[in-house]
Amino acid sequence: MTTSLSDLQKKFQNRLLHGDDAVDPLLGNGGPFMKVYDHAYRARLIEVMSQDFEGLHTLLGDAQFADVVTAYVNAHPPRQRSIRWLGKDLAAWLAKTPAWAEQPMIADMAAFEWMLGLSFDAPDETPLQASAMAKVPPEAWPMLTFTFHPSLNTALLSHDVAPFQRAAVSEDEEPDSAPAPFAEPITWAAWRDPNTMIVTHRALDIDEAAMLHAAAKGETFDAMCEVVADLSDTDDAAVRAASILRAWLDCGWVVGLDGEGISW
């Protein structure tokens, strides 16, 4: 009796995912080289994750990194069409999985590297020039909302993982010590320079991070000023918010704005 293609694929796949041997009777001559598929499945996932998380691989070493990837893919069997997205949930999984959650620098490194990767190949869009803001009528400012470049991504980190990661991916440097903890978690932003296409990152001040969070949710410039007023020492939150916005424009973060009679 022939096996349906659906049943065969389910059993073959369960062999790779769970080591289930139900596929064995379906193989010709007992499938002496089935081990090639067993090995290739794990090896490919580890290889791809190592490319996406080079700093994490260095931090953990080969054996522990392989353990992490194996446990992660067991918890999150791959469903994405493109292997590009395999590591999407790694940082969140590390942060909540007991063996790794006790060392938050591990999840921080994964979050940082995933952020850099997102920025690297995010879709292209044309940033607004800073000069465009001069054309916004004063009365339109309070209700302005902003759209950001797809390459702009953020991560809240409790460890200074950037120097370690830079050294890990460099051909000239070696990481010399584990990432140190920050006094308080800090929001980091990564983005791709629109001209050089180089991914850059920096830490955000508390008020800037909150303002960006509000803006990314679609809140108005007026609401963004209120956020800044709550968090900074400045006497004039609008001036401080405008200054932050100017920095965003200079970095190519803003690709659109909407307001009464304005849609750029």
Binding site: Y37, Y41, P77
Partner: protein, 276 residues
């Protein structure tokens, strides 16, 4: 469709500085490039920019790894839309993917997995190929993969399976000569019989690559230079199919660009020997 000719290389990010650099002779002997479709679907940034710069200078063919044409899951319409959008930009001479499945029942194993060689599978795959071709508005090519198992239900040879699907779906063949060599060794069939059984007019592109010999089986690694025995099989293939656009597909252990250009000259010489 066959307005592609000559010899090409798989476009790899490590080689962008060489290809797009100031030396106009660096690509001498390279007539076209093949891109991995998935690397450029729905993304932007430097890789896309560089690929488009290469596409302005050279003909491009698109090669996919995740159509999963043999899966029992529905075709991924978002993926096909991305493929079509990329083709609109790149204007590729050919679009290909593998005769395999990569996952089913909602999962993706990210590997080129073997299909049972049955009439039912032929029906299933041919129907899906026709659907893809209707959607893309053009013919696609299916590539033979290296396999490491057969199935108890197999009803035909691999070449009969490939030929029947391509005839029924009216699609082309991307013939990977290394994969024939690997599967012939692993399963004990004759590579010559494989070549003799192909519908020669459907072979529109050829891949060459290297492998890893493990004594009782060969693994298709695509991370070594094309070995002499694969090159000899290539010459035998050309004897059957005539001049077909041919490329080196190097996926791992990527050497300097100049090394691949030099290796491609050897491929060209082999083709000239075979066709003389």
């Amino acid at each position: 469709m066959r307005d592609l000719a000559g010899f090409g290389l798989g476009l790899r990010p490590q080689h962008f500085p060489s290809i797009l650099g100031d030396d106009p002779d660096v690509c001498e002997g390279v007539d076209w490039f093949e891109i991995i479709s998935e690397n450029f679907i729905g993304v932007g940034g430097p890789l896309l920019r560089n690929m488009r710069a290469v596409a302005e200078k050279f003909p491009i063919v698109m090669h996919g790894v995740s159509m999963s044409i043999g899966s029992v899951d529905p075709l991924d319409t978002a993926y096909l839309a991305g493929l079509k959008a990329l083709a609109d930009v790149v204007q590729p001479k050919l679009i290909s993917d593998h005769l395999c499945w990569t996952g089913a029942h909602g999962h993706n194993m990210h590997d080129l997995l073997p299909l049972p060689l049955t009439e039912a599978t032929v029906d299933h795959v041919a129907g899906r190929v026709r659907h893809v071709q209707d959607y893309l508005g053009r013919q696609i090519l299916l590539e033979n993969t290296s396999t490491y198992v057969t199935f108890a239900d197999d009803e035909m040879t691999e070449w009969a399976f490939l030929s029947e699907i391509c005839q029924r779906a009216d699609c082309g063949i991307l013939l990977d000569v290394n994969n024939i060599f690997v599967s012939a060794f692993n399963h004990g069939f004759s590579a010559s019989d494989y070549l003799a059984g192909l519908p020669v007019n459907r072979v529109q592109q050829i891949h060459l690559a290297g492998h890893e010999h493990n004594g009782d089986h060969i693994i298709d690694t695509h991370d070594q230079p094309v070995p002499l025995d694969v090159l000899a099989l290539y010459e035998a293939a050309l004897d059957h199919v005539g001049p077909v656009p041919t490329m080196i597909e190097r996926d791992g252990n990527i050497p300097p660009f100049a090394d691949l250009v030099a290796e491609l000259k050897g491929v060209r010489a082999a083709a000239e020997r075979a066709l003389s």
